[in-house]
Symmetry: C2
Subunit: 446 residues, 2 copies
């Protein structure tokens, strides 16, 4: 078993700095570890028992080897704790802050050297650690009450920042998206995003990788690992620290230099690595990628019951390099025969406020072979939009096997309809532009 | 009284095309008009009574003059109906579609000529009409069940598109924003956005005007009226039909040419008229403008308990032309004395996951005079963030009288905290970037 296997799928975990109360991070982590399927050994010399588990005064007193150590003691104590893992543990997460990110580069170099000397791979320091829902492994110092965890699913998160990791998790949960592996890797002193890329490239539970990056140590190694990963999985990157202020903030956050964004952006583009412009675009893309498989082509058909919403969607398609190409003449005629004269038989197809559900199904089926992806806009403020639309869309998605996303404005039956569509793995977005950005993640750009 | 006063504040309304059932638009509108504070006269020759009101076979049978006529009969009948308003009515809303937007330019020209001949000002055709919550006037053909109306407030909406109007209304309601006047003006054959701009410039109930525009007839007149309006009120414009596909869609939507977007964009910029890039940016700006007064300056202070969120916010400030300028040295020292060594005393100020509420208050008060606007990021996944933060922020907002917005990720106590903050007129956003865009609406750009 490699060290990264031990990081995600340990059989046993020791928590150095375990506490009896959730007022302390060591108590929150211990409580989260109580759900873990394997063995948990809390270490704290002041207690013989913590949260119902036998506590140990030090790691060396634990009988036999332990797969993973989690350390949440103040930075100055960490070198000594690490040395105490010698011969017992092959992989450790140092969650404690107080290293390079606050100028303590010397202390960080010291623990790096110790790790190397005793043959331990280290995640962190200054990090959130790991959440693997299948193993019920959860090393976060955030309570379940304050941060509900996503269910099992196909999306992996790699985040240099614990804060962004927690925000990504919140949105996953609210968007009916499940997680495969979640990692907050902080200062990336040893195990870094390239190692994690390589691990996830072969992780059977993962289809999509979301990567929040502030800085990368070895740029070439990162690009190579990202390229390998993107050949196996859908990957999308949010690069932060784009300007001077952001770069300064990133430096004081994880003690690493962010580098010039223009260079990073150009390299990602050159290697066809997908990049999101901001947090919301990232999450909109992740939902689409988690629900559906990416496909070839860039021709989009927009079908709407609101003219203005179709115009905004067409504008965004242009900005995103997607083609809103005209309907083929024969299809235009066919739809013209079926529909009332006041429908707009163009692209966008405007079914107007007088639409009935079925007319979406008719349009989709007539145009199925003429486009690469479909954006359906259903404003549920008119009575012709009912929950039946969910079934119609599901049928089309399954028979066409093409990317299809919806924009539904938040009104009327939108909540029920959205739940039904997302259960069928059709992503729903609250604005036309966000729906286009979701669809773009599933298509090629021009 | 001007025709536009009659449009927004009529004492009596006649509905031509009233129906007995909500399956028909004429029934939905009649039901919505039942809430109106003035008199309502339904016209339908087939009924003597509709929804408890006396029905009339024609407008001419109604005793005395009527302030406003609402017409929802098929397009070919409209010329005759208009002629029948002669001498009875000075202002009419033609909601019916089937005019220039479907190629029936001749029919539209005919009704325009009739309106002029008999001295009636006309809103529409192909439009949603008017909602004025203070008069309880509501001519929309959308049911209250499917589209809940916003409460009274200070935001006016002018929308060429009925669909976008309904989406704007949904978001207003969900964002705790109230409406002053809402108008869907459709084909803008007679009363157009310039007329409405001039009316709203002197409307005491309106502080903010949201304008969704696809096309403008007389560009110079529009810019002049928009300039006058923006001297009196906060105004923000979403211009749709930016690319070829969007322009084609806009043409088939309201029968008007959208014109080159680059020209429009340059002119708006030249006259310092505020423009939103898309629907979400529009709504994020409107919330900020509805809650707080715009202010001078562009120096932003970011205070966060999550490092990565601060980096993303700083990146977005750069893109939006806002300055994340360094803390003054003396203030840096003062905060350094008050705070633990692991806090990041820069801009962004990083209070870390170990923050307590009070430390936001301390930071804000120390830096109050050094910045023009404040972005506070409070990730409520840690126990140090409590509902008390709402009170602290309210005190700061009231004493500083400077723009202040929050980003709160959706987790833990976020819903309660958001409700409390927005009651105090402090806008809350679900991502760092959206919060920056909200704040930008309240500040000057560099």
């Amino acid at each position: 078993m490699s060290a990264l296997d031990l990081l995600f799928n340990p059989k046993s975990v020791v928590l150095v700095g375990a506490a009896h109360t959730e007022i302390k991070f060591g108590g929150v982590i211990l409580k989260n570890l109580l759900r873990f399927r394997g063995k948990v050994f809390p270490v704290n010399p002041k207690y013989r028992e913590l949260m119902g588990l036998q506590a140990y005064p030090s790691v060396q007193e634990i009988p036999g080897p332990v797969d993973l150590a989690v350390i949440i003691r103040p930075a100055p104590e960490v070198p000594e704790i690490l040395r105490g893992l010698n011969g017992k543990v092959q992989c450790a997460i140092i969650m404690s802050s107080g290293f390079a990110e606050v100028g303590q580069k010397v202390l960080q170099d010291e623990i790096k050297a110790i790790g190397k000397a005793i043959g331990i791979r280290i995640l962190g320091p200054n990090c959130m650690g790991v959440f693997n829902p299948r193993a019920r492994l959860d090393t976060f110092f955030l309570t379940q009450e304050r941060l509900r965890r996503p269910r099992k699913g196909n999306v992996a998160i790699l985040s240099q920042s614990g804060a962004i990791l927690s925000c990504l998790i919140s949105v996953l949960r609210d968007s009916n998206i499940g997680a495969s592996k979640v990692v907050g890797y902080g200062n990336a002193m040893d195990i870094d995003v390239s190692d994690l890329n390589d691990y996830l490239a072969h992780d059977a539970d993962t289809d999509v990788v979301v990567s929040y990056i502030e800085s990368v140590g070895d740029g070439r190694r990162f690009i190579e690992s990202a390229k390998r990963l993107s050949e196996q999985k859908s990957m999308i990157i949010l690069k932060a620290g784009k300007g001077e202020s952001g770069q300064a903030a990133a430096y004081s956050h994880t003690g690493r230099l962010a580098g010039r964004y223009e260079v990073c952006h150009a390299v990602l583009r050159q290697f066809a690595l997908r990049e999101a412009a901001d947090f919301d675009e990232l999450m909109d893309a992740v939902k689409a990628l988690s629900y559906q498989r990416p496909s070839k082509g860039s021709r989009v058909c927009i079908i709407t019951n609101g003219g203005g919403s179709g115009v905004l969607a067409a504008d965004e398609c242009m900005r995103q390099g997607l083609a809103v190409s005209p309907l083929p003449e024969d299809k235009k005629e066919r739809l013209g025969q079926k529909f009332p004269h006041f429908f707009g038989i163009n692209n966008p197809v405007d079914l107007t406020a007088q639409v009935m559900d079925d007319e979406y199904g008719i349009t989709l089926n007539v145009l199925r072979d003429d486009y690469d992806g479909f954006l359906v806009i259903a404003l549920p403020n008119v009575l012709g939009i009912t929950e039946r639309l969910g079934g119609l869309m599901k049928d089309f998605k399954e028979s066409s096997r093409k990317p299809v996303v919806l924009h539904i404005a938040p009104s009327g039956i939108s909540a029920k309809l959205t739940a039904r569509l997302e259960k069928a793995r059709i992503p729903v977005y609250p604005s036309p532009e966000r729906a286009v950005r979701g669809l773009r993640a599933l298509l090629d750009r021009q």
